[in-house]
Structure formats: C-alpha cells, structure tokens
C-alpha cells in the first residue's frame, strides 16, 4: 500500500502516527486533539491507537501548552503540539520567542528542545477573523526557530517526520487551505530534508519563488504563462528557515528574472527577506528588479472580502509581465 491517493490532512496524520510508532518519546497534545482528532482531524485516531498518555487534550491555554512542551522536551520527550489556528498561537508567543527559540543558545548547547509546534495557517477557507493569519514571518524573524511549510502531500508527510526527528524546535506551518488537496503519493519515498528548496517546475524565462499555500497558485500561473509562451521556473521553499540560498539563487541566475509569491502581508516579511537575499546575491544576473506578489498590508479580511487579499494567478502574471522584458 505504498502508493495511495490521500489528502494533506491524512498525510500529516500518518506522519504523526508513524513517528509515534517509531519513537515512544513522541507525544502529541493541544486543544481538541484527543477524542475529536483536532478541528482539522490531523490527530484523528491517535488517542485511540496510542492511548491518553501519548495524544491528549490540554486545558485551553496556548502559553501553557508550549511552556509545558518545553519542559517535556527538557526531560527527554519529543513533544508535538498543535496551535488550533494561526492567530490562536499568539498567546504562546512569549514562550516561543523567549524560551523555545533561545534555550539551546542560553545554555551553551546543553539543553536542546526537540519539539514541534504545528500551526494551521493562511486564508482561503472563508474563516472569520483570527482564523486566516499568515504568521510565519513572526517565527522566521526569531533566531533559533526552524520554520518549515509543506505545499504538497508528500512533503506534508516527509517534512513532518523530519521535523519530529529534528534536534531543534521546529515551527511547522500547515497551509490549511491545502488540507483537503489530494495527491497520489508514495510515503516511503524519501523527501529532501529541512533546509532544502525544491524546483517544482523548470522554465527558462523567469522564476517564481513561493512557499506553502502560494505554491499551487504559482504553479497554476506558470501553467497559464506557458500557454502564453513564457516558461517559468517555480521554486518551492519548503523550509523558510534555514533558507536554501543555493537552490533559489541558482534558479534566479538561470532565468535572470524573479517574482516572489506569498500569501502573507509583504511589509517586513519572509517575502521581503527573499527579495533582499536574491538581490544581494544575484544582482549581476538580474535583468529586472525582483517583484513580489503578496497580500496587502492590512489585517486579513472577512470572508466576503478575502478574495481580494489572496495572491492570484492574474496578479502573478501581471508581475511577471512587469519584469522589463522590452529591455532584453
């Protein structure tokens, strides 16, 4: 049964199950992750299979959840915790920034925290306020955190397994609008590790750099562009921190033009970091300034207005059109 058609949610569930099977020190906890199996069913069946000591509901307090995970990691366990939605991870911010991110450094490497904070993030599901934030930039901005985000079903499985095995804390951002996207996958197939970006599509004319929920949109844009005669490379970051300069810059150098696509707001964000890096490292290969397609710098809109906020194929194609083709 290695080849199967499953959703990203199922792949994440399988990754947790396999990780718990492989290592007794892996425990999963958070709000509603027990009997309910999580509001997105990512932990479905884990309590039934592994018992209450391995997958359990906690009191409703995110700072407590993350803080307790720190202590458990200090004492030999590998906790995986779920923040129910992006914006509900904010009460835990103090723990994440002041402790999760800093423990190894402040103890001169004596105390490591092999823990995973899973966060469903992003829009596109018609959620009311506080249910659609793209919060990755806060974490990426915090030295000491590793931040990864899958865009494919295979990566959801592979990256989560690697995150749980990782020696340091990983913020694992799950693009919730992709939870139900199904793909034919072979979960036994080895996926690239944390810190590695992957080229999802090759094209000679320009590079789209995307991660998480923006990747399928970028791929769709590349498809349309190809039909219009322009070949685009699409790079899926997978790992925001550590950042794979090599893969990203190689693609940009090959194509000479780049557009960064992200669902988060653009100001002081992961997307601005990508532009800065690419500009610093690939300046002489660039035929045009690197463009960005991001959300507007506003709070995530209510459901009836969210379509204006999300990166679209048209916006990506417009940005590609703006890459000074007439000069080349």
């Amino acid at each position: 049964m290695t080849h199967m058609k499953i959703s990203m949610a199922q792949a994440l569930n399988q990754a947790l199950r396999d990780a718990m099977q492989a290592d007794d020190s892996v425990v999963m906890f958070g709000e509603d992750v027990g009997a309910l199996g999580g509001v997105f069913r990512i932990t479905d069946g884990l309590t039934a299979e592994f018992g209450e000591n391995r997958c359990f509901d906690t009191p409703l307090a995110e700072a407590g959840i993350v803080g307790v995970a720190v202590g458990m990691a200090m004492n030999g366990m590998r906790p995986v915790v779920e923040m129910q939605f992006d914006a509900f991870g904010y009460p835990a911010f103090e723990q994440v920034v002041s402790h999760v991110a800093k423990m190894r450094n402040r103890t001169r490497g004596r105390v490591a925290l092999p823990m995973v904070i899973r966060i469903p993030y992003g829009g596109g599901i018609g959620g009311v306020e506080h249910h659609s934030d793209s919060s990755e930039s806060y974490y990426a901005h915090t030295p000491g955190l590793t931040v990864v985000t899958p865009a494919t079903v295979a990566d959801a499985y592979g990256l989560l397994r690697k995150a749980i095995e990782f020696p340091d804390p990983v913020v694992f951002m799950e693009p919730k609008k992709l939870y139900w996207a199904k793909e034919e996958v072979d979960l036994t197939e080895e996926q690239p590790g944390i810190g590695t970006a992957v080229v999802r599509r090759e094209g000679a004319d320009a590079t789209l750099i995307a991660y998480g929920p923006a990747v399928p949109v970028a791929l769709e844009a590349a498809e349309v562009a190809a039909a219009e005669g322009r070949q685009l490379t699409v790079v899926d970051l997978r790992s925001v921190v550590p950042f794979d300069d090599e893969t990203v810059c190689a693609a940009v150098r090959r194509t000479g033009r780049a557009v960064v696509v992200a669902e988060a707001t653009g100001f002081a964000s992961v997307s601005s970091e990508i532009v800065a890096r690419v500009t610093e490292k690939c300046f002489h290969s660039l035929a045009a300034p690197v463009r960005r397609v991001t959300a507007f710098d506003i709070p995530f809109p209510p459901p009836k207005l969210e379509k204006y906020q999300l990166p679209s194929v048209d916006r990506i194609l417009d940005a590609v059109d703006d890459l000074q083709w007439e000069d080349s």
Binding site: A35, L36, V39, G126, F296, I298, K304
Partner: protein
C-alpha cells in the same frame, strides 16, 4: 463577622430560585425577581431562542459563515444584559449574539462578524457593547480597563465581561481577575460554563471545585448559579452588579449550563459525547421551566404569550429578510479603517486594487 472564606467562596450549590420543574425555591441570600422582570425575561427568552433557531437555519442555507449557537444558554444570555443599566458595558464573545441583541443592538449588525461581511457590525459606543471577541479571554483585561477608567473618571459604570468555561484556562482570565481585584474595578466576570470547550469537557479543563472558586485566590468573591434558571441568574447577576456599582470591587459569577448543540455548525459533537448525556439537559430547558412557573402563578396571560411570540416572529423575519440578500461589500473598506490616516503604502495598495478592479470590469 464573616470570614474571608465566607465572603469569597461561592455557595455550596449553584443558586436556583426556580427549579427544573418550574417550582420556586427559597434561598437565604437571593429573592425571586419581580413579576415584571420575569415577564420581560420570558419574552426575551422566547425571542432569543427564535434568534438561535433562525440563525442556525440561515447558516445551513449559506447565509452565515458560521454560527456558534447559545441554544439552551438563553437564560444566561438574556440575564447578562437585563441586569445592566444604560451606561454599563457588555464584553461579549462569539457565542453571545443573543445577549448583544438583548442589549438593544440591531440583529443584523450583531451578525456581521458571523455573516462575514466585516469583523464587527455595530457601533460599540451606541449600546456600550464591545466587539465580539474570538481570541478567548482576551476581552477580559479590556473590560477591566473600561471599568478602571470609569472609576478614575468618577462614573458609576459597571462592566459585564463574558467568558466560557474553556476561556477560564487562559492566562488573560487570571490577569484580568487580579487586575480587577487590585484596582477594585467594577467588573462582573460572568462565566457561562456549558461544560464544553469544543470537544474538551470541563473535567479536563479544570480541577477546581467550581469555576467560581477561582475568585478567592485573587480576592474576588465568587458565586454560582443554575445557568438555566433565569430567576436565579437575574438575582445573582443583579446583586453582583449592585455590589460592583456600590464600590465593592469585581465579582465572579459562574453559571452552570450546557451546550446542547455542537460547538458550531462546523462541529460534529457525536465524535466526543453520547446523546444520553445531552437528553437530561433538554428537560432543564430555561424557557420550559420559566413557562411552567409563570403559568402556575397565573401570570402567563394569552396577551403576554402573544406579545412574546410576536417579538420572536419579528426577529426571525428580520434575520431572514436582512440576511437573505448577499451583503454589499466595498473592497475600498479594506484600507479605510486601518489607521486614522492612511499611510503612503496603504494608499498605493488601495489604488492598485482600485485599478485592478476597474480593469476587470472593463
């Protein structure tokens, strides 16, 4: 002389003035509300129930993005607003639409958040109702701030701050109680303990003897009431508001009720609880018991009933008419309220969107 414990600990049993069979009970500290109050409450309960039913129907028809119903908790909803005066404040959560409507807010504006055309629909200053809060317990420190400011300004405002049983686990709940106690702020913290936080039952939420016991550690008096008894709630909350107004500082009230329906329409409660658990609560319905009592007293005239029914019919018609049409939204609003003055960047982005939409139309 009363001991500290006597002053701060809740009653041994939740206060109940009309039991689930509609029979009145004596209580040493609380008296039955007046006939007028109970009749007013009755009409509001009937209307609140109809509001819940109609909103749930509309969510099934795709007219609301989501609806967290207070079905079965209407006595808490109604009482929380009834005990307030005009200048007092209400700090509600996503579950408290009925309470907001009881406070006088337009039903359609109340549902703006859940309809999804904006984050909050009403003017908070008009009826002194804060925007509904979704991040749990985060509204509670705000309630303390409003109360503290009122005190500093010499106003006799009381603030009613609503929170669920699950919300009492959040740090903000504890910080708010402590601040309120230290500042002597006139806040009534009203916990609707409906036994669940989505799928998590109270037993996994707290090991305290009751949620009202959480007050003593902060020096806040706690009290608990039967959350399905409007009479008891009006008495307990009414007294708490009076005490807060009289300068006795914050009060913590826990109402013991039950979330009869799923967390929201998106939730499947059969995954985590048995129907057998729900059934007894149907017999504790807040409307049923008040109806029995009022009928027994001979107060439920056909006029009273018809009047309540008319209000209920009116609110459901209002919801249907107001929510059936697709709401009009203006993309320009996305940028209009972010800052007192738009920044250069938001102006540019607003212009970008305007151009994009104009091109699409052309």
């Amino acid at each position: 002389m009363t001991t500290v414990e006597e002053r701060l600990l809740p009653s041994a049993e939740p206060v109940c003035l009309i039991d689930q069979n509609g029979v009145p009970r004596d209580h040493s500290s609380y008296r039955l509300p007046t006939k007028a109050a109970l009749l007013d409450g009755y009409a509001q309960l009937v209307r609140g129930r109809r509001f819940n039913d109609q909103a749930s129907a509309l969510v099934r028809q795709g007219r609301l993005a989501v609806y967290p119903s207070s079905f079965g908790q209407e006595a808490c909803q109604v009482a929380a607003s009834m005990v307030l005066r005009e200048g007092d404040w209400l700090f509600p959560t996503y579950r408290d639409s009925v309470s907001i409507v009881s406070r006088g807010v337009d039903p359609i504006e109340t549902l703006t958040l859940l309809r999804g055309d904006w984050h909050s629909g009403y003017d908070p200053y008009e009826h002194k109702v804060a925007p509904q809060s979704t991040p749990l317990a985060t509204q509670l420190p705000h309630a303390v701030g409003v109360a503290h400011a009122a005190r500093l300004k010499g106003e006799d405002t009381v603030v009613m701050a609503l929170v669920g049983d699950g919300g009492t686990s959040e740090g903000d709940f504890h910080e708010a109680l402590n601040f309120a106690a230290v500042f002597h702020a006139p806040v009534v913290f009203f916990v609707q303990n409906n036994e669940y936080a989505i799928s998590v039952p109270l037993a996994k939420q707290s090991a305290a003897p009751s949620l009202a016991h959480k007050g003593i550690g902060y020096g806040v008096p706690g009290e608990r009431a039967d959350g399905n008894d409007l009479a008891g709630l009006l008495a307990v909350l009414g007294q708490a508001v009076e005490k807060a107004r009289a300068g006795e500082g914050p009060q913590l009230i826990e109402a013991h009720t039950y979330r009869v329906q799923a967390h929201t329409n998106a939730d499947d409660a059969t995954r985590y609880r048995e129907d057998d658990e729900v059934t007894p609560w149907l017999d504790r319905d807040p409307i049923q018991r008040l109806t029995t009592y009022l009928e027994h007293e001979g107060w439920l005239s056909s006029e009273v009933k018809e009047n309540a029914e008319a209000q209920a019919v009116q609110v459901s018609a209002q919801l249907r008419e107001g929510l059936m049409p697709e709401p009009e939204v203006d993309p320009a609003d996305l940028f209009a309220y972010l800052y007192a003055e738009q920044t250069q960047q938001t102006r540019e982005q607003a212009a970008f969107l305007r151009d994009e939409l104009a091109r699409e139309e052309a």
